[in-house]
């Protein structure tokens, strides 16, 4: 009976293995290339799956692109050249940090703009509450004094 459970456990483990991560056996010529490879596949987005990087995707295109990244690094390309290679084929989409262009400036400056709007609203609310706290006119004060002294 116990053996059956162990067997079921093993089966479960084996069957779930493919979902543990997309890791294929790559032959790295040296440690530097290995480190650069992992950095690059973490910073490039899988074109098929909208929000997974190349490192985390099981999609066929991600496998092909990982192999391509390694091939380019082995060929002696710099990180910037690999990113340029991907950009030429897949556009801004593939870069998790899109470049500064006419199309992407809003993406970069938008959050800053929203923060400025928030700050100005906060500031104006603060200003109006200060005004009401200290905003008694001379006649108001006189009125108040009259009421209090009554």
């Amino acid at each position: 009976m116990r053996g059956r459970w162990v067997l079921a456990g093993c089966l479960f483990w084996v069957l779930s293995a493919p979902s543990l991560g997309a890791i294929e056996a790559q032959a790295f010529p040296d440690e530097t290339i290995k480190a650069r490879y992992y950095d690059l596949i973490a910073s490039l987005r899988c074109p098929q799956c909208l929000n997974t990087n190349l490192a985390g995707s099981d999609a066929m295109i991600a496998q092909n692109l990982r192999a391509t990244v390694l091939r380019l690094l082995v060929e002696g390309k710099s990180d910037a050249e690999v990113e340029q290679f991907m950009f030429e084929r897949y556009g801004d989409f593939i870069l998790y940090e899109p470049r500064w262009t006419a199309k992407t400036w809003l993406l970069w400056l938008g959050p800053l703009g929203l923060a400025l709007v928030g700050l100005s609203v906060w500031w104006s609310m603060g200003a109006s509450s200060r005004k009401t706290r200290h905003g008694l006119s001379e006649s108001d004060r006189a009125n108040l004094k009259q009421l209090m002294d009554r």
Binding site: P47, L50, I61, N64, L65, T68, R89, G91
Partner: protein, 179 residues
Amino acid sequence: MAKQSVLIPAFVFAGIVVLLWFGFQLSDPHLLPSQKLNDPVPDFELPSLTAVGETLNAADLTGEISLLNVWATWCPSCIAEHGELTRIFETTGLRIIGVNYNDDSDAARAWLKRWGDPYAFHIVDEHGTLAIDLGVYGAPETFVVDAGGIIRYRHVGVVTQKVFEETFAPLIQNLKDAS
């Protein structure tokens, strides 16, 4: 003043609703803009699927307007698309060139035997290198390539009769008129 500050969050909320309403309708996020439009088909040197032993290159794509169709046996939508490609070839005589993508060549030949072969020839792209140069990220994808070998249009997903008649046919007519 008090009345105004009550309205500010309402305006902000309305602004966000409008932004998201249009933002989400803007386009299908799965459709990446093509980087290769109006560029020549990237150069390649790959074997032919059916003429075993022969190699093909970008020059084989010139001479007439063609559809360059990326397909694979592991792609179920490609079977759905196959009928329409056959219909296009039979009714218009348009040259259709296959890119057999990330596939097993024996399986691909068996697939063509089973479903028919309206293609002029097929490029074997076993490791997806040509596909990557084209910016392909799935199958099926179809490019319209003009007689000079320049990419004029890219369609991601299945080419249906509607897509062909509404998008491809006018475009091809324009290309024919221009030449």
